[in-house]
């Protein structure tokens, strides 16, 4: 575990030395600030972060890949991956360490939005438990996005390709539930049998899952969604690194 934490610490601290981390922070706070300032923070509005949390995915699907694109791609392009392979660190520790490091940085992003909660507390009467549920959702969604970003970063040594693939994938996850209502309900295969389409696509999208968290409802199915997808992509990243040994 100490090796995992060492990697996590290294990844987390090294991010603060990179200009891209500050660019990510800037973009994130600008996006969230505009959302909050324009649509949430005005006299008479409900003193809750629901709108910001619910809509944050449309910013995060671009911002998180910018943050994670270098995590493995940089190791490949610089050749450090060979060094890591020969070290006593296992692939599992490597993946977990990088995931924790990236997630900690994501937590810094999230923590920076507490300023909005402070403003709500000064000028309104926020519901603290509802706010806590909103943040729980935001953190879980971020972890899922980070794991997807790490997977694509592990797929290629080109950071741009990793970021683009992550953005496209996360973009699909972000909007698919909204699109699903406009798609066919099912696909018929030569009239032999039909595959239901709308319900699975709706479930796949992040939207309905984060929506409940943002309004203050913690549902076990949404918890499972974020945890299972995070786990799946971490596992796929692990398999990908493993496969590099015998490919």
């Amino acid at each position: 575990m100490s090796r995992t934490l060492t990697i996590a610490r290294r990844e987390f601290t090294s991010l603060f030395y990179l200009p891209v981390a500050y660019l990510v922070l800037f973009l994130f706070l600008l996006y969230m600030g505009i959302l909050f300032g324009m649509f949430i923070f005005y006299p008479g509005a409900p003193s809750e972060l629901r709108g910001v949390i619910d809509f944050s995915r449309f910013g995060l699907f671009i911002i998180v890949p910018l943050m994670t694109m270098s995590f493995f791609a940089d190791e490949y392009s610089s050749g450090r991956i060979e060094m890591l392979r020969t070290s006593p660190i296992t692939e599992f520790q490597l993946v977990l360490g990088k995931f924790i490091g990236a997630s900690l940085f994501y937590l810094v992003l999230v923590a920076s939005t507490l300023i909005y909660v402070g403003l709500l507390a000064i000028y309104g009467h926020p519901d603290w438990l509802q706010t806590a549920a909103s943040y729980l959702g935001l953190i879980l969604m971020g972890c899922m996005f980070v794991s997807i970003g790490l997977f694509f970063s592990a797929c290629t040594q080109n950071q741009f390709v990793a970021a683009t693939a992550s953005i496209l994938t996360l973009g699909v996850f972000s909007i698919i539930s909204e699109l699903s209502t406009r798609l066919w309900g099912e696909i018929s295969i030569f009239n032999w049998f039909s595959i239901p389409l709308r319900a699975p696509l709706y479930y796949l999208g992040v939207g309905p899952h984060i929506a409940d968290f943002s309004k203050g409802v913690v549902d076990t199915s949404h918890l499972a969604y974020f945890l299972v997808f995070t786990g799946l992509f971490l596992f796929l990243t692990y398999l990908l690194l493993e496969s590099k040994k015998w490919r």
Partner: protein, 708 residues
């Protein structure tokens, strides 16, 4: 150990990876399926905004404690609405063992109707007896008419019978032996059809007997009785029957009287039948409705009650499920409604459709109150108001009165020598009501403005509330200074007799209202502002046994004060130390006093609120559109107004356990007042520029230091 080739190893590892991915995906699908199937939700909002409201939970607890059980049946065909309705009904069932939720969309309507009928067997019994009693009566009538027909026919056979007698006898014999028995048989047959089916139509059967069938010339029992009456009354006989037969019918009068008595008794039995409640219930059931089956009765909730149309929209609807279902359960749980009487000095139309308090009344009715209004006879008639009456429609223990201060008199009428409204009859009646254990919500207003101009100062019910240790300082008008943008964009301060409150002392009535905005407002009249808010608080010395709690207090701010000299130059008013009252100012109190004579030893309760118009429709209805990230929601701007009024009435009625904030109101915990300048500064200085660019600056510094 045998070596495996590179290609074979490649395939082996590749296959292994594929299997692992397949297993991982299978686990994902399985976990997703299982968590969807057995999902559990935890509503973290403090008011349970996305679960059943506090008042519904209290209601269900009460049902459980009383061991009453309710079954909620959804008749909705499968679809989006059906899902929404069933989700809600299941939430009720999840919340309480007293509730069972069932989707009966696949059960035949007849079966559901049969279940409902089984609950009303006692109510149906008189119908069964009465309708069932028609057949023996019809047989007796048939026998009687046939016999009389034969007798009349025999007259024509007698030697020497005239042609006219023969013709009249033949006609009467035909009517008695053929037409009337046929009609009676027809009615009996129809009744059998209506009552012997799987869904007996008792109301229709009774209606058939009461009205007959005009198109088939089938007589009603009434008509039959009227016809028979002709034969027992010599005068009517002479007018209606052929002259040749009059001697015969004179001799048969006794027999006709006997049969008429039987028909009359039957008709009276028929008249005694009360309208069937079960029929109302069955008529209301439709494919898009919810049926609430209680321990003794059934309530049907229509689609229109569940999905309310939004005002001004033909398509947008709002799911009103919880309110509709809870109201139905409440009305079944407590068939006896508590009466609330709106009392005014001069006759007014407050409660009817379109009346100024109609929305508040609808809220009270949904909480199972029966609302009425009363004003004593007055010198100022109002043709649009209900007629005044010397006696109130309800008073004493278990009745809540809402007593309004007198309206300002019409200046023109005063100039014509008409006296100002006299509050004495209302004072007397209120005193009687309180002495008999009745509870009162007093509304008050500042005596400046119109009332002051008319020389009417002081709160007329001051003596009544003084007994409870409450003091209404109506000489003070509660005012607040606001800011608005002037024509050149500069900020201009102005003072109005209105105050916005968002935080409340912790009391039974106001505890669930924290964060909800309540506006205590005035109304602009032709002669100036009316119903201005005033100061209501505990008296300096409380009478023995009295207990007073402040419910509402104005914010402590230099912009809020109690103005002693509120004039026409109201916008320019300023706080005069020594004359005016500084905030925070109490504006509403609840007070109790030990048992009174007529109240069965129970404590007597009053609530006094320093605003006359705070529960009026325009304040209650004011909605705003709020973007929630996924949709635009309509929420009340001042939800506290409705909650304060409703909770006060619930507390007065002794329904403390029903006091809980409604889900809709909960949706409106708001950001308070921010001046435009501060808002702009926060937006640009902090949110849009300050914080984001600060991170860039920090990044730049880090980069610079590392580079160095």
């Amino acid at each position: 150990m045998a070596e495996i080739s590179h290609t074979k190893r490649h395939w082996l590892y590749g296959f292994n990876a594929v299997v692992l991915v397949a297993i991982a995906v299978a686990i994902l699908v399985l976990v997703s399926y299982l968590t969807q199937k057995w999902r559990t939700s935890f509503d973290w909002t403090s008011g349970g905004l996305y679960s059943l409201s506090g008042s519904t939970k209290s209601l269900l607890k009460e049902a459980e404690a009383k061991q009453q059980s309710y079954e909620l049946l959804s008749m909705y065909r499968p679809g989006e609405r059906s899902q929404r309705v069933m989700d809600l009904l299941n939430e009720y069932a999840r919340q309480s063992k007293a509730i069972k939720a069932t989707d009966v969309s696949d059960v035949s309507l007849e079966e559901t109707e049969r279940r409902i009928r089984s609950l009303y067997t006692e109510e149906i019994k008189p119908y069964e007896t009465t309708i069932g009693g028609f057949e023996p009566l019809a047989e007796e009538l048939t026998k009687f008419f046939k016999q009389e027909g034969a007798n009349v026919g025999a007259l024509a056979q007698k030697p020497g019978a005239s042609e006219a007698l023969k013709r009249a006898a033949a006609e009467t014999q035909g009517a008695f032996t053929k037409v009337l028995p046929e009609k009676l048989a027809y009615i009996a047959n129809m009744l059998r059809k209506l009552t012997e089916s799987t869904s007996p139509e008792w109301s229709s059967a009774a209606s058939l007997l009461k009205t007959g069938v005009a198109t088939n010339e089938v007589p009603s029992i009434d008509m039959l009785e009227t016809t028979l009456k002709i034969y027992v009354d010599p005068a009517k006989r002479k007018d209606a029957l052929p002259e040749e037969l009059l001697p015969y019918f004179a001799s048969a009068e006794g027999r006709f009287k006997d049969i008429l008595a039987k028909v009359t008794a039957y008709r009276e039995q028929l008249d005694k039948l009360q309208p069937l409640k079960v029929q109302e219930v069955l008529d209301a059931i439709g494919e898009r409705s919810v049926v609430v089956i209680g321990p003794q009765a059934v309530k049907v909730i229509s689609h229109e009650e569940l999905f309310k149309r939004q005002p001004g929209s033909d398509t947008e609807e709002e799911f009103n499920g919880e309110q509709a279902v809870s109201s139905a359960i409440l009305s079944l749980a407590r068939p006896e409604k508590v009466k609330v009487v709106f009392v005014t000095v001069t006759p007014q139309r407050l409660t009817g459709p379109g009346g100024p308090f109609s929305d508040m009344i609808s809220t009270l009715e949904q909480s199972n109150f029966e609302v009425m209004e009363w004003s004593p006879p007055s010198a100022t008639p109002n043709p649009q108001a209900p007629p005044p009456s010397p006696t109130p429609p309800a008073q004493g223990a278990g009745v809540v009165w809402v007593v309004f201060p007198p309206d300002p008199p019409n200046p023109q009428m005063m100039m014509m020598g008409m006296p100002p409204p006299d509050p004495q009859p209302v004072i007397g009646a209120t005193r009687q009501h309180m002495a008999a254990g009745g509870q009162v919500l007093f509304l008050s207003e500042a005596s400046s403005g119109m009332m002051g101009m008319m020389g009417l100062s002081g709160y007329p019910y001051a003596d009544l509330v003084k007994d409870f240790g409450v003091e209404v300082q109506s000489q003070y008008t509660v005012v607040q200074r606001f800011q608005r943008e002037g024509q050149d964009g500069e900020l201009v301060a102005f003072v109005i007799p209105a105050v916005l409150v968002q935080r409340y002392p912790e009391t039974e009535i106001t505890r669930p209202m924290q964060g909800l905005q309540t506006l205590f407002r005035y109304v602009s009249g032709q002669m100036g502002p009316m119903g201005m808010p005033t100061v209501v608080g505990p008296a300096k010395t409380l009478p023995e046994g009295a207990n007073v709690k402040v419910l509402v207090e104005t914010p402590k701010s230099p912009d809020v004060w109690g103005e002693s000299n509120f004039s026409e130059k109201m916008e320019k008013s300023t706080f005069d130390k020594g004359q005016d009252l500084a905030s925070p100012l109490p504006m509403a109190v609840s007070a109790t006093r030990g048992g009174v004579a007529g109240g069965g030893g129970k404590e007597s309760r009053i609530v006094v609120i320093g605003s006359k118009f705070f529960a009026m429709n325009p304040t209650q209805d004011e909605v705003q559109l709020v973007w929630t990230g996924r949709e635009v929601q309509r929420i009340l701007r001042y939800p506290g107004n409705q909650e304060l009024f409703r909770n006060s009435v619930l507390w007065l009625a002794g329904y403390e356990n029903m006091i809980a904030v409604s889900a809709k109101a909960n949706a409106a915990l708001r950001i308070g007042d921010i001046s435009p300048g501060t808002l702009t500064a926060i937006r640009w200085g902090v949110l849009f520029l300050g914080v984001p660019f600060a991170t860039l600056v920090i990044g730049g510094i880090v980069w610079f230091i590392r580079r160095k």
